[in-house]
């Protein structure tokens, strides 16, 4: 992955053409019905004009007579109106965790940078399909919020650009407060490293699902967090709390990897149960590869559905 200078639009550097080229033939479709204002690619929460027949209903005064199904009138001598599924654009918001732990890097991109690329790519991608894009950054509090708008791509990218990991994070509180922002059903992409208990995470995310949002959870982990490659006994310092602990990794590695595997497995299982798309992104994996894989799988799932 390479970065490109876009002096005119801060944050545009996080939109990687290589990533976009890889996912360009895909669509970021909402898995659920979303509320939109214009016609789009997503299934709307109301019936409207589209090519997908929905149902017939009796003509009611005020209905557009152009929508009367004359063929059916001929057979039944009653006026019926044809209803079609409505397609809509969606609110696409990125909820980006910028807590201190996201600043971690074992050598390559930090998790936050990776998340920024991911957020920018998704936002750009969504904006390109006429979705309204917005963004919220948080750590232990909500830091910045960009309401969803078709015109907010630049603002979102700018917000992405300015995001800095600096304080300890917390998931439950900020996400709970965010439910106030997302009244209209839309697509939410939560990007975090999720250092919380699975129940806490699920409780926080579940609220969005309850509101009807299509929630995608991107779990960003550094390879060091997955593999724990340390071999020498050292003092480990928690980036967020500053707590230090002398650790001999050799004897700890297996247990650690087992714990992190259990954590991700639990999250995947619980999210799946609540129809939340969950993906672990290893920052050592090229973003286009991970994103392509994720969107492809998601698209397949929607078609099956």
């Amino acid at each position: 992955m390479s970065t490109h200078e876009h002096p005119l639009t801060p944050g545009a550097s996080f939109v990687d053409p290589a990533v976009l080229a890889r996912i360009g033939n895909l669509e970021l479709l909402a898995r659920t019905i979303v509320d939109g204002f214009i016609n789009g690619i997503h299934k709307a929460s109301y019936l409207g004009v589209s090519v997908d027949f929905a149902e017939h209903r009796g003509y009611m005064p005020g209905d557009d007579i152009r929508r009367i199904d004359w063929r059916l009138y001929a057979r039944t001598d009653r006026y019926y109106v044809k209803e079609f599924e409505a397609d809509s654009n969606a609110n696409f918001s990125v909820i980006l965790d910028v807590s201190k732990s996201m600043a971690f890097s074992s050598g390559g991109l930090s998790k936050l940078d990776y998340a920024k690329y991911l957020a920018a790519s998704l936002t750009y991608f969504a904006n390109r399909q006429r979705d309204r894009v917005g963004m919220v950054t948080f750590d232990s509090e909500i830091l910045e919020r960009v309401p969803s708008s078709a015109k907010h791509l630049d603002v979102v990218l700018h917000t992405i650009d300015r995001a800095v990991a600096g304080r300890p994070g917390q998931l439950a509180g900020p996400l709970f407060r965010m439910t106030e922002f997302f009244k209209r059903r839309g697509i939410l992409a939560i990007i975090s490293d999720f250092y919380e208990e699975p129940d806490v995470i699920l409780d926080a995310v579940k609220r969005f699902r309850t509101q009807g949002h299509d929630v995608m959870v991107f779990h960003i982990l550094d390879p060091a967090e997955l593999d724990f490659p340390y071999d020498a006994a050292s003092s480990f310092e928690d980036l967020e709390t500053g707590v230090r602990m002398p650790i001999v990794p050799d004897n700890l590695r297996d247990q650690y990897k087992q714990l992190i595997d259990e954590h991700t497995s639990t999250l995947e299982k619980r999210f799946t149960e609540h129809q939340v798309d969950y993906a672990v992104f290893n920052t050592s994996t090229p973003l286009d590869y991970g994103l392509f894989k994720f969107l492809s799988a998601r698209e397949r799932m929607i078609r099956i559905r």
Binding site: Y230, A233, S234, D238, L239, E240, V243, M245, P246, L252
Partner: protein
């Protein structure tokens, strides 16, 4: 095992250092920032702290080196010699010197000494070599440098207290020789004794080699009391056919307490004849005189005893009393002698009781072979023996042990046919009347004739003036016993067969010299007669370890031992029969026991019994002790430091023991080797890890 500085063992607690170094070592200071310790904190604490040791050899090397270092600084030492040998290997060379002089019989000294010696042997390691030296006056070593400790132990158990005095010199010399040839570095002599002062003169000239240790173990008692019969003297007076003898015993109290009501008993021929009670002050003496008793023709045995004390050996004093000896002297004069030429000789020989001389004067023409029978000495006073059968008989007399004194005066002519008895030849008389005469210028004081004059103020032989003499030429220069101041021979002598011949180049009357008028005349004549007769002063008692000349003993009693016929048998005080072979003139026999030895001539036609009284040397009665550390210091050249009064077996101080063993050096060396090995190993592992 013990430690000189046990507190330093607390340093072993620092053993955690290499463990931590091993577990944390260079990454200890490295800080790794990690997104969250959420999962790390869930790992059980124990499994996180007790980390796996990755390099066991390194870990063990570091731990072992550290333990050895701490142990070395704690100055360890083995309290058991067995452990020392086991730990160090190589063994030690131990010489145990066990005093068996009779003072060791005082109280329970001997038992304690044996126990101490056995302890030393028991403490030996399997590789240690031990030598047991039993000593008193002399020293005797059993098997040298033996690893058969059982035999040494057995020898100690079998050993008994002797009757001899203490002499440290021979024993230490023997030990020095044994330890000098030993190739073992750890060499030690252990001297177990009561350390009597009399046993060490200080001029023995013994110095142990560097590194050889002399460890004294004293079994002496702090307070001693000992009453001893120092001697018994006799006053003899002629009485009827024998002698009347008054015995006086001298008692010495060598203790610090007064001895009261001490019974002193005189036994004669095994029967108690008198008892006296005396009191002897502390460190004082007392003399006990008994009533006179008669000594007739037969030898009498006597013993003076005092009551028992802690040292029994000097509580009895044995003696034998023999009737006075007779030396028969035949004076042969010329047929026409000078008047009173034998007067001085006769008068001089008539005086004295030890021995008594029986003289007879005879003209040479009257001399017959029979006249020689029973004579001890023949004096040819200014005459030569006849050249006849009588002359041959005189030669035979000499060869069979008789003595002849040839006085070469003015009348003597020695014809060619006369017996060749003289040790040389003489010429006509030399006249020194014109001058002040000659005096005796050279006297061989080592000869039995003159040895009594050797002591100061014991007679001035040079006081006599010799105005005439016969120049005498000896065939053997060694035969000259005295010379005049002009170098001429005055007295010469030689042995002929088993007899002796002396030639006096002047006269023994007052014609040619004034010797007869001088005080030395009488003892001189007595000495001449006693020497020629082979007379030996009877000895009333002997001391243990003395070498007895059995032939002289019999000669003193008037009997001559014939080789291969009169082999005597000695019966020791304990009843052992000890045959004595007669091969030469001197028959030597060692007196090893205290009491009465009985001598019998087994091969003779008539048994001649003789008793020999033997007493322990009274020098051992004085129990005054010397400082064992001083003795050890004098031998090893290293001053000891023993607390006064510590007279019981002295143990080494921990500092001494530790210093001698020096285990810390070995530990330090091993620790350094381990550290070197650790360095090599860690470097190698580091290289392997980098590649």
């Amino acid at each position: 095992m013990a430690f000189l500085a046990p507190l330093l063992l607390l340093g072993l607690a620092a053993l955690a250092v290499p463990v931590l170094v091993h577990l944390i070592h260079r990454e200890r200071d490295q800080l790794i920032q990690f997104p969250s310790l959420m999962f790390l904190e869930r790992v059980p604490y124990r499994s996180m702290r007790r980390q796996k040791i990755r390099h066991w050899p390194l870990f063990l090397l570091r731990c072992a080196a550290f333990i050895l270092l701490v142990l070395a600084f704690a100055r360890p030492f083995f309290t058991s010699a067995t452990a020392v040998a086991g730990a160090l290997g190589g063994g030690r060379e131990i010489v145990v010197l066990l005093d068996q002089s009779y003072s060791m019989a005082y109280g329970d000294r001997w038992a304690r000494a044996q126990a101490a010696a056995l302890r030393e042997i028991d403490a030996l390691g399997a590789d240690d070599r031990a030598t047991l030296i039993l000593f008193a006056r002399n020293a005797e070593a059993g098997a040298r440098s033996s690893i058969d400790h059982a035999s040494v132990r057995s020898a100690i158990t079998r050993a008994e207290v002797g009757v001899e005095v203490t002499r440290f010199g021979p024993a230490l010399k023997l030990a020095e020789g044994i330890l000098d040839v030993s190739e073992v570095s750890d060499r030690e002599a252990i001297l177990i004794s009561d350390f009597q002062k009399n046993g060490w003169a200080g001029d023995e000239g013994i110095a142990f080699a560097e590194g050889v240790v002399l460890r004294p173990i004293s079994v002496a008692d702090a307070d001693t009391s000992n009453l001893s019969i120092a001697s018994v003297s006799f006053e003899r007076e002629p009485f009827s056919a024998g002698e009347q003898v008054t015995a006086s015993a001298r008692l010495v109290n060598l203790g610090t307490n007064d001895a009261t009501r001490v019974p002193v008993t005189l036994e004669l021929d095994g029967r108690e004849v008198a008892t006296r009670s005396v009191e002897v002050e502390a460190t004082g003496t007392a003399t006990v005189a008994f009533d006179p008793f008669i000594v007739g023709e037969d030898q009498r045995r006597g013993t003076v005893r005092i009551g028992d004390d802690l040292l029994l050996q000097d509580n009895a004093f044995h003696f034998t009393l023999s009737p006075g000896q007779l030396v028969t002297v035949l004076i042969v004069e010329a047929d026409a002698p000078n008047p009173d030429s034998s007067l001085y000789l006769e008068r001089a020989l008539a005086i004295g009781s030890t021995p008594s001389f029986v003289t007879e004067v005879m003209a040479v023409s009257d001399l017959t072979a029979d006249a020689l029978v029973g004579r001890s000495v023949v004096i040819l006073n200014d005459t030569a023996p006849p050249a006849s059968a009588v002359g041959d008989a005189l030669t035979a007399f000499v060869e069979n042990g008789g003595g002849v004194l040839a006085i070469l005066g003015e009348r003597v002519r020695w014809p060619s046919g006369a017996p060749a008895l003289l040790p040389g030849s003489f010429t006509a008389a030399a006249d020194r009347i014109g001058s002040r005469g000659r005096v005796l210028g050279y006297v061989d004081y080592s000869h039995p004739v003159f040895d009594v004059f050797n002591a100061p103020r014991s007679g001035d032989l040079s006081s006599a003036r010799f105005f005439q003499y016969r120049p005498f030429t000896v065939t053997d220069p060694e035969s000259v016993l005295a010379r005049f101041d002009d170098g001429q021979v005055a007295l010469a002598g030689h042995d002929l067969g088993r007899g002796r011949v002396l030639a006096w180049a002047s006269t023994l009357d007052s014609y040619w010299n004034d010797l007869a008028l001088k005080p030395v005349y009488l003892p001189f004549v007595h000495q001449l007669a006693k020497h020629l007769a082979g007379y030996v002063d009877p000895t009333d008692w002997h001391t243990t370890a003395q070498i007895l000349d059995v032939a002289s003993l019999y000669a003193a009693s008037g009997h001559r031992l014939e080789p291969d016929r009169d082999d005597p048998v000695a019966v020791s005080p304990t009843g052992d029969r000890l045959p004595i072979r007669v091969r030469e003139a001197a028959v030597l026999f060692e007196l090893a026991e205290q009491g009465f030895y009985e001598m019998h001539t087994s091969g003779a036609d008539v048994d001649v019994p003789l008793a020999v009284a033997v007493n322990a040397d009274r020098g051992e009665s004085d129990l005054t002790m010397l400082d064992p550390e001083e003795l050890a210091g004098a031998i090893t050249g290293r001053a000891g430091a023993m607390a006064p009064g510590n007279l019981v077996a002295r143990e080494r101080s921990p500092e001494e023991t530790e210093g001698r063993q020096g285990l810390w050096r070995y530990l330090l060396v091993v620790a350094l080797l381990l550290l070197a090995a650790e360095t090599v190993l860690s470097n190698r592992m580091s290289r392997v890890a980098r590649t």
